[in-house]
Symmetry: C2
Subunit: 199 residues, 2 copies
Amino acid sequence: MTPTAAERGRETRGQLLDAAAQLVGEEGWGGVTTRKVAERAGVRPGLVHYHFASVDNLLIDACLAYVERELSGMNQLLANTPDRGTGLAALLEVMASYSSDNPGTTIFSEMLLAATRHQRLRDELARMLRELRHTVADWLARHGDPGEAEATSAVLLAVIDGLILHQLIDPNLHSLPLVVPLRRLAGLPTETGTEPPGQ
Amino acid sequence: MTPTAAERGRETRGQLLDAAAQLVGEEGWGGVTTRKVAERAGVRPGLVHYHFASVDNLLIDACLAYVERELSGMNQLLANTPDRGTGLAALLEVMASYSSDNPGTTIFSEMLLAATRHQRLRDELARMLRELRHTVADWLARHGDPGEAEATSAVLLAVIDGLILHQLIDPNLHSLPLVVPLRRLAGLPTETGTEPPGQ
């Protein structure tokens, strides 16, 4: 069976989104042009204009698709952890993977900066951030609510992005026993902390 | 008394640094030119080249001077707080002040992104981040060590930058009772938490 025109259109659109996200990681938001995206995706430049109203619109959709994929990975990771302690350890590993040579790190940074200028990107990211916050809050509550699960989730997500930023500057950050304060934040006992044992 | 040539030089240098930091906040790192900085500082463009080897060097020094000022404010704020609880509340207020219409927010974001490309900026920021981490760890330890003060300090500083980023996307973030998980992180009792009272 040969693909229909609609199927080919969807495939081209997907290739353009992937190429655009890669290029944001390599050249920064401002460095991406229609020509470069078309070249990377292996299609005619005219097709970029056919599928997207502007380069900014293409980059916004590309970054949002990228974030959706990363978030669905994170949701799966949380769904598969048996308790808060295992989940926190897994989150710390995810964080550590966002080093300066991970293109995802640049894509996220460029996107957050672009979100200050593009209302649609900001609105969609706000929606995703709220959804992720609810997911993590539900996960915390399911495994023994530490108190104020929603606010705890917001702080935990802030820790993740903050540590990703800080380890770009100081790659030795992960030599510190970060899991101790993270466990305390999530209401779990620590060897050196002041919480009661047995949770 | 008229100022000496050295004094005038230092003054011009300071004006150029201030103008450059302002322009990073308004136009982004890539949007700043020698001409614009000279215009904003009210000096001849040639003086920019006299004081700085390149625009990037000027922007790096401008951002570092900006961060030094902000950090000294934060150091003073911590030195003046009588206990951890007051300090955390003060930190939350500082965070909330970094809204999307605060030029400091853009300066910080642009600088962090530029740090991935400029080694000198990255090295200096790493030094400042480590110093600030030690200061906050000392402050935590002085007011009743929660356990792993250095790692707790690293996580606390990550929370601050993470929340600043997330509130750019979702300005309603501060309606959540963020102080509860922050107190737990710092080893302080919370009304709803599981920690023992009386600290």
